[in-house]
Symmetry: C2
Subunit: 518 residues, 2 copies
Amino acid sequence: MEKEVLSRRSALKFGAIGTGLAMIGAATNALGAITLEKDVKFDEEYDVIVIGSGFAGLSAAAKASERGYKVLVVEKMGRIGGNSVINGGAFAVPNNADQKKFGIKDSGELFIKDCLKAGLGINHVELLETIVARANDTLEFAIKCGAEFKLGQKPSWFGGHSVPRTLVTGNMSGSGIIKPMTKFVQALPGCKIVRRTKFDDFVMGDDGSVVGVVVRKDYRFDKKLLSDDIENTTGKKMVLKARKGVILASGGFSADKVYRKLQDPRIPEDADATNHLGATAGALLKAFQIGAMPIHIGWIQQGPWASPDERGFGVGPQLTQQGLFKFGMAVDVRNGKRFMNELADRKTRADAEWKILRKNPESNPVAIGTYNTFDPQILSLVEKGLATGVMKQYDTVDAAAKANGIPVKALKASIKKYNAGVKKGKDEFGKPVKAFDGQGIEDKGPYYCVRLQPKPHHTMGGVKINTKAQVISGNTQKPIAGLFAAGEITGGTHGASRLGSVAVTDCLTFGMIAGENI
Amino acid sequence: MEKEVLSRRSALKFGAIGTGLAMIGAATNALGAITLEKDVKFDEEYDVIVIGSGFAGLSAAAKASERGYKVLVVEKMGRIGGNSVINGGAFAVPNNADQKKFGIKDSGELFIKDCLKAGLGINHVELLETIVARANDTLEFAIKCGAEFKLGQKPSWFGGHSVPRTLVTGNMSGSGIIKPMTKFVQALPGCKIVRRTKFDDFVMGDDGSVVGVVVRKDYRFDKKLLSDDIENTTGKKMVLKARKGVILASGGFSADKVYRKLQDPRIPEDADATNHLGATAGALLKAFQIGAMPIHIGWIQQGPWASPDERGFGVGPQLTQQGLFKFGMAVDVRNGKRFMNELADRKTRADAEWKILRKNPESNPVAIGTYNTFDPQILSLVEKGLATGVMKQYDTVDAAAKANGIPVKALKASIKKYNAGVKKGKDEFGKPVKAFDGQGIEDKGPYYCVRLQPKPHHTMGGVKINTKAQVISGNTQKPIAGLFAAGEITGGTHGASRLGSVAVTDCLTFGMIAGENI
């Protein structure tokens, strides 16, 4: 029903042709003229104002507060944590202690090589070097802020990484970081988080520095609007001074029905994303208007482990990427054959799935495996997946094939072929099965299946920052004084496609660095 | 020597780490605050001001002048025509009269399908539909403005196009369009082109419309600067009123040492591009600051038919794309084998060449063929190519192999294999050899060789326009009143990668449309 309402709206609003955007009413400053300090009266004053309360925002706020600054975190939604609180809480830390403990040989060079391979070589290496240098500090800082990780265990092995280097939170969710960090921040003297408060504009000083922001308090995000950023007029305007500066940590735009479609017109306005509904481009577009430079805008990463059988991020991504994609496999339902390395980087896998789905939109590929395929760390999610229905359980391969419309003989042959490859340590798609010690799909059920559908997950593009998290101006190629950014609103770290579990690293690390440098 | 100076400057300026940009002095408005009409006094007044004098700019100026408007074309360089005057003058016109004359079946759907395939599906289809609807009008208008095409002949077949649909100018150069069009424009009453005049800023009205520009006259582009846009302080400021509006036609940024590297850090500051040296991002970045939305920034198209043995665009591109790449072939010098479909789209071919060059930077692939392989239309360029040295001539395959360090036996085997495929009408890389009527590389010399090196050629990203060439604001999703754009400064038409000879179409068509609508 909700989908229908949206579609009708879009049809009306977008007009008949392609991505042509027709008129929509504007709530914000249409001129886009910069708000100048001399023209405003500040309602409140802070040292530091942080836009957004995800990993990057809270990390920045925690570090800045710790330094004694009076900090305000502005969150537009009704709940704290953005996408960070609903994701899988997986945190890649190159050269971490658990790798050493379990004899896993990692290096900064290897991490950067992996990122560059997935990112098609266009990553900004100095940002990756910064992550290598600081990721262990970040882990320590997150733990200090109360985050709980499953430490002392063998790290998880995420797709596209050459070695296992990913730590996971105790509750297998980003909330395992966000919730304690929120408490930590709120307990610090002089630090405040306000919700339902929307960033609308920057306030600029005479010297070109950012000295504050225009926000609306008591704003309510409206998911029914085509563009909440433009159409939503709720809330009351306030002008806030930021004596030390502003830290932009408002995330990406995977849920922005308009701007994401301008980058990839194949994404319908009502397409489900893994993101929370507030993940829009408003703050990003405002940053461009004060000279921040767009980097890599146009690359939208789609999660190849997502499922059409649940909304948003859900639990499917963990059941596949830390489960069925490992010892199990993914098959093309049209012919029962495998069609990709299930542990390749995200872009490679999403491209392989889209190749099928663009031809046959109903033929969602299926991930299939047995109980052994789930990481011990996510076993508790198996029941949850079955309960929500995103994962189905079958006693036999025949039943799994029948239920998913897969030719049963072909599926059995594929399982046999796959298992033989695992035994030999050589996979037809280059999956690193050598490390599996002969473990593949078991001969006996139950069998577990998750249907696959790539969903917009992470927008690679954003503003250019330097290694101090300062936003660089296109007018000067110097930092814009008083403006920092961290996390998904920045571009460059991940290049064309981000490796799984490096977002948490990126957000927490550059958030912390912004808090250190402001 | 010049290269050395640049390298040293860059080393100093960019600092030691990756793409990290250190301080460079700023010539322009560092604040980036918008210039408001109420704060300025206009030195001169026009109806329409056009930024840039390439295909898009002159087409816009011609159309607007024709409508009786007083038009000023502002060109920052010392000569008129930007990249347009140095390119190959190839103009794709779907459904043109020469196709019909020679029995070539084309359609708008086929043209759009070809563009979408090369563009990886992210093209803005409504812009392609506009091109289909108007390309023949554009051709007619260009002819009216004095452009001379080789008409009545079989159209050229460019890589990635399903059918021959490309017309070429009489002199096989874009100057065959630019030069007469310049005369046409200058002969119209009230139309003026000024050179060495640099656009610096927009002037905005109270209602958010663009009402003029700030320029510098007597400015001199300085190729020795790392960023001319930022560092060059020459010229005298003037404020110009544009009663009807401004048309942005300033091109792409393939020669911008700083901004192109931020999009692809693998492109060294001193890397040669096919573009003229003034192809920088200054005007584009200013447009973002008044709310124009970045589309597809990050995709830089590299010309797979360019050569390291000449600077800039040169003649190599024509000798390969309208010559050796057709009945001839390209080989990997390391093993004497072919490695790509020489008529694939540009991205596919540049990727194939980079795969070799990223591993062995000295192993430039070589295009090889015999005299029969050159399009009759470019035969006069053969002598030029030999004279400048970008193409070499050898009596025997042995001599060609020896001179280029190719294993001779392997090269002979490759030619044999390739010719056999041509005879059979089936090529191992999917080259459409069926249409070649058995013609391949001849058994007898002379043989012609061009060494290959992809060069930055076209920046796919830019501002979002609608089908009327109006620039769309991210603040409203409506047109910015008084602002139009056409050509390479816009994004969306070509998606991730442009097909050869569609730039001329895009620039002339949307330039004309901007002139019609302003």
